[in-house]
């Protein structure tokens, strides 16, 4: 019995879990959405959110100085795609004239949106290559349904609400292992 195309998905394990849930009818849309939030958090929390927040909150008069600080931060995270993406988004937010808490929130929201779009596109393409057309259509529809109900701004607020964002490893997927728990019929 085949495990399904999620096994060969060229993304990190948390995105494979998301793809698996999106492709299997036993997972309710709420559970798929929950996995999306989990996968995004696992990705975005690799970015130096605290440093970006510090730079955004710093007393700098000129926007170019803030951008210089952000560019300097880039060199401290070589090879980390989520970090580079978050910095790109922060630079873009500064370019729009946003600073402080609003700037950090806008940057994080943009990073979440980009991460989601990119991962969903990869999953869709992978399923179109590897799965039956019916199955790939199903994945596409479910991803779309989840994406439409997903609030990236709310997730950004959740990540930014504590003084220090939680470590990436602390983010876990809820396990429903009770005797009277199970998928919908």
């Amino acid at each position: 019995m085949s495990d399904g195309p999620h096994k060969s998905l060229p993304l990190r394990p948390h995105w494979r879990t998301f793809a698996q849930r999106a492709a299997k009818a036993a997972y309710a849309l709420d559970e798929v959405r929950e996995t999306l939030a989990y996968a995004i958090k696992r990705d975005v929390l690799q970015a130096p959110i605290s440093n970006i927040r510090e730079i955004m909150d710093s007393d700098t008069l000129f926007a170019y100085m803030r951008i210089e600080k952000l560019e300097a931060l880039r060199s401290r995270h070589p090879g980390s795609a989520p970090a580079q993406l978050a910095i790109d988004c922060a630079v873009a937010a500064v370019g729009k004239g946003l600073t402080g808490q609003a700037g950090t929130h806008a940057a994080t929201t943009m990073a979440i949106e980009d991460t989601t779009r990119s991962a969903m596109r990869s999953i869709e393409e992978h399923y179109q290559r590897e799965a039956h057309p019916r199955s790939s259509r199903y994945v596409r529809e479910r991803q779309l349904a989840v994406r439409q109900q997903f609030d990236c701004g709310a997730l950004a607020s959740e990540l930014l609400s504590p003084a220090k964002p939680p470590p990436q490893r602390a983010v876990k997927l809820a396990v429903r292992d009770g005797l009277d728990q199970g998928p919908p019929r």
């Binding site: 492709a23 299997k24 396990v175 728990q181 998928p183 019929r185």
Partner: protein
């Protein structure tokens, strides 16, 4: 096999040597090297045109991993099932090879005991149902239901597949510890009949599934040997037939639907508790139960993966729902790896002093402890013989 002449003919010895050589995958040239002769000498010996010398026989027997005694014993039965398995693509593996050899030896041993005691095995095989053109699914479902009706199983669960195969259908079935990836083997021989070897290391539920799978081959593709190994991708029509037959024989759709409706009445979610109760009611493993529910569209696709992704369904949870009920066990596993009928033959042969305990242990590939377990019953029976009513013949 009941030839009265003391001495085996050259032809018979040659044939036995050929089977033994093929059993260890030696070429005629390699065998010729063992005795320091030309290949044509081996050809002549195997064709019965030249009588083998005793020293040559001993050397060859050693390299064939057997003994001169086994080759020369008049009553020994030599079957050639191993080469047939070798034609299968997936039987190149050493563990599969070992299992095919074991099956061959066990069948030979049973036939030899039958010959010694002058009994024959009654074959009660259902009529052969070759796979017809068209959809395999409906044929497999129909054949499985027909066989259940024919066996009078009703809608009850299959508790002991070995007894059904061995005693009801007259199929030679053995349950021995095999490598984990080998689930079962099936072979058909005109003389010996249908023969099945199952892996004793597997759980009761899995053993039942493998037994039913091999039974499907008896029904449909009797003349094709088969090795069922783990992780296979079943593509052929024969394998698809066997899988569908297996599921429908063990858990008929109507019974599963009925149990499902009774147990989950009015519920919006299929919970672990439901799965445990349904699996218990139809005597199937938890995974097989959920997969069967998925197949029958009673559960959504990916339901088993849902449970797996959320911690699975544990033994502790089963105990919580069902309590400490004794697990069902297949009679053979429970009673020492010799099926009921073969155990009776071995006891009888031992009681009549046709075979010693050691000979029987070697024949049946058992250790001393194992053969004692088989023969213990015979001793007890003898003690109580006077009190028993004799079977009229």
């Amino acid at each position: 096999m009941t030839d009265t002449s003391e001495r085996l003919s050259n032809h018979e010895i040659g044939e036995r040597l050929r089977l033994a050589r093929e059993g260890v995958k030696l070429t005629q040239s390699q065998a010729a090297e063992v005795i320091g002769a030309a290949r044509t000498t081996i050809v002549a010996i195997e064709q019965g045109k030249r009588r083998i010398q005793m020293d040559e026989l001993q050397k060859l027997a050693t390299s064939y991993q057997t003994s001169a005694n086994v080759i020369l014993r008049r009553e020994a039965v030599h079957l050639d099932m191993v080469p047939r398995f070798r034609k299968l693509d997936d039987s190149k593996d050493i563990d599969v090879e070992r299992a095919t050899r074991l099956l061959n030896d066990l069948v030979s041993a049973e036939v030899e005991l039958e010959n010694a005691l002058g009994v024959t095995r009654a074959r009660n095989y259902p009529p052969e149902r070759p796979i017809l053109p068209g959809e395999v699914r409906s044929q497999a479902e129909q054949d499985a239901q027909e066989l259940r009706d024919w066996l009078g199983l009703g809608s009850g669960p299959i508790m002991d597949i070995v007894s059904i195969l061995d005693l009801q259908l007259g199929i030679r079935v053995y349950v021995r510890p095999l490598h984990g990836k080998v689930s079962g083997l099936f072979a058909y021989d005109e003389a010996a009949g249908a023969c099945i070897l199952l892996n004793a290391n597997h759980s009761h539920e899995r053993l039942t599934q493998t037994g039913a799978h091999e039974l499907a081959h008896v029904i449909s593709t009797r003349h094709q040997p088969e090795v069922l190994t783990e992780g296979e991708r079943f593509a052929s029509r024969e394998e698809r037939y066997a899988n569908i037959f297996q599921r429908n024989f063990i858990a008929p759709a109507r019974v599963v639907r009925q149990r499902f409706a009774e147990i989950t009445a009015g519920q919006s979610h299929l919970t672990r508790r439901h799965v445990i109760l349904i699996a218990h009611a139809i005597s199937l493993s938890r995974e097989a139960t959920v997969r069967r529910l998925e197949e029958l569209k009673l559960a959504r696709e990916g339901t088993w993966d849902w449970f797996q992704g959320n911690g699975g369904i544990t033994d502790a949870q089963v105990r919580e729902v069902l309590g400490d009920i004794p697990r069902p066990n297949i009679s053979v596993v429970l009673k020492g790896m010799v099926p009921p009928r073969l155990a009776l033959l071995a006891r009888e042969a031992w009681k009549q002093e046709l075979y010693s305990e050691g000979q029987l242990a070697r024949l049946l590939h058992l250790d001393r402890h194992g053969i004692r377990e088989v023969l213990d019953g015979a001793e007890r029976e003898e003690g109580e013989a006077d009190e028993l009513v004799k079977i009229l013949r």
